[in-house]
Subunit: 216 residues, 2 copies
């Protein structure tokens, strides 16, 4: 099996120095890539800027902005059987990127933020492209309020087969608690532990699910 | 000599997940701290979130926001002889931090950014506090346009003894090119090389300058 993994944050610049981002460490996505390689799968890891070395045995595509992540992911996805989208994409960007560095003059600055490309939705739309058996898509949702309801909405809006749901407490840490949400909003699995352990559980689950013919 | 070093970026949150920051890697500040320790000085390293291990022999104070960096730096500065302020402080913050996570609804979001605490100016103001011989203050300036003129303005506005001037190309990289700017705007020194090498040159310069009675 050949699998695309997205990982890490993206950055969206206000000027040449200041940007909008989030504290995603990439640990979960890198752990998933390592678990895929350990299970004998091919892996393409498209990653935003993080302080981690890519796991051995993965193809590695570093990106910085959301548009770059979308382009690299769409290109890699064409040759993959599925995607595990663990990246914490920066989903807003300044409408205008100022060249150079905004000089401070003491006054407040009003910045208009617009939504960036939706990487996961773009992959979901292409899942059946050129294939008799559509590629599978597993998204990640990080929800603070109404988590299961929002995860299910995300699953549907982005044509995911399953969504891995976790909370803001997972960001940057070494451990995570995650629920695997199915297409009717049901909690298929609950995993808790180190990110490598949960990544291993997720890859095991995918292997069994694919072997069973990917039941809905 | 006991020296405060500030390093790394700070983060200013829009909500519990999204923040404003910059790509400062902390490499220059950590190299300065290591050079101070190697030269036999005591060092307190106040650092924003970076992917580096604190150099052995330094007191280490991790912070996240600009307000935290200001508070930790002011506290440490009271017991120091000088400061090398290499941090790339996030100088704007959202006027409002939303609890939880802003939900996307497709519409643009307007964010008002206001200036954060000026850490370097706060230290400059306190340089003479409780001392017959004022503490020395060396700032860093990262300027895209009119670099020397802006560095001199910074030196004056923030009561620095010298300013280390570099350009946006230095951010995140392993090498830097820096000018040491004096109180009349003159270029006292020009250094170029790896960040550890330039940090060593800077500490050597400070040692000689302090030994000479800190001539203006």
């Amino acid at each position: 099996m050949r699998v695309l993994v997205t990982a890490g944050p993206t950055r969206e610049y206000l000027d040449d120095v200041r940007y909008l981002s989030n504290a995603s460490s990439g640990k979960m996505g890198y752990a998933v890539a390592a678990a895929l390689a350990a299970a004998g799968h091919e892996c393409v890891l498209v990653s935003g800027p993080v302080g981690l070395a890519p796991p051995p045995g993965c193809e590695f595509v570093p990106v910085e902005t959301t548009a770059q992540m979308r382009a690299a992911s769409e290109e890699a996805f064409a040759g993959c059987d599925g995607v595990i989208a663990a990246a914490a994409v920066c989903d807003y960007r300044p409408a205008v990127r100022v060249e150079g560095k905004i000089k401070k003059d003491g006054a407040p600055v009003s910045v208009e933020l617009i939504q960036t490309d939706d990487v996961l939705a773009a992959l979901g739309k292409r899942k059946a492209e050129g294939r008799q058996t559509p590629r599978w898509v597993i998204g990640f949702a990080l929800e603070a309020a109404n988590p299961r309801e929002n995860a299910l909405q995300k699953l549907r809006a982005k044509q995911c087969d399953r969504v891995v749901l976790n909370g803001p407490a997972s960001i940057g840490g070494d451990r995570t608690a995650a629920e695997l949400i199915g297409p009717s909003g049901e909690v298929v699995m609950h995993w808790e532990g180190s990110k490598p352990a949960v990544a291993g559980d997720l890859v095991d689950w995918i292997d069994a699910w694919v072997a069973a013919g990917r039941p809905a």
